[in-house]
Symmetry: C2
Subunit: 137 residues, 2 copies
DNA sequence: GTGTCTGCAAACGATTTGCAAATTA
DNA sequence: TAATTTGCAAATCGTTTGCAGACAC
């Protein structure tokens, strides 16, 4: 509990109960949760939590650089507190998201003149091992 | 007009007036248009066109493999009829989308065992040359 | 004629916004 | 107590759905 609130303070944001809980959840989660997943996971221990607060908080975390926002094109955003260079895989069948230990390629030298790169995202879609095994149809 | 309708027929779909017009527009467009952009562009010449038809049509095109769907995380989908391997850049300032002549890296050998890759997307975000030049604040 | 396609209107669902009450410095 | 944060309720907006009429083979 201590460490997490300090990280928030270092980013210049107040470590409210809600923010600390949401941040802890994001740090330990491997599934790149959506707002709905965060909300459902924390509701039992924080019955007064609102979706709005989760939305506010992940937006704030994004702005201060605590999380990465992932968009797999399903109309829901996912949040990843792992900021090291890696890529993401989404199973088209079951929707599960996996980290790939693949650094997005360095393209700074291949950019058109005058362009400035801030962020790159490498998304991979396909079937996870489990769904591939069970592939029937 | 001839060629386009033949392409649709080769994909096994009926070359209705709306489909051919939408397909032509997608083929000649360099801006990776949204449904709204397609709709607004074609409305003058097809006053009875509906957004629903545009949605139906781009979905159909996606399914038969005539277009690629791009999602830059802005809550709007964009459609690209260029299916050659390339990447995409979105300017964070003005929202313009540019093609990058960069092949997404081949990662088939780096995938975890049992995973099957269908599609990869490489997205780059930053400032385009025009917005970078005008960068004031 | 029968199945497909179009397009209106309503529904949907994730996210955003307005704002008043609660909280914290 | 003044500024920030929370959370309810309503709004927003891109997209989807239901369905009736229009169209094409």
């Amino acid at each position: 509990m201590q460490i997490h609130s300090e990280i928030l303070e270092n980013k210049g944001i107040r470590p409210s109960v809600q923010r600390v809980r949401i941040f802890k959840f994001l740090m330990k989660s491997k599934e790149h949760p959506t707002v709905e997943m965060i909300f459902n996971a924390l509701l039992p221990e924080m019955p007064s939590l609102s979706r709005t607060t989760v939305y506010n908080t992940v937006e704030l975390f994004k702005e201060v650089g605590l999380v990465q926002v992932l968009d797999f094109g399903r109309g829901v955003l996912r949040y990843d507190a792992d900021l090291s260079p890696h890529s993401h895989f989404e199973c088209e069948r079951c929707g599960a998201v996996y980290d790939l230990d693949i650094k997005p390629q360095d393209i700074s030298k291949k950019m058109p003149r005058g362009f400035k790169v801030h962020q790159t995202y490498f998304y991979v879609f396909g079937l996870c091992s489990h769904c591939k095994k069970n592939e029937k149809n």
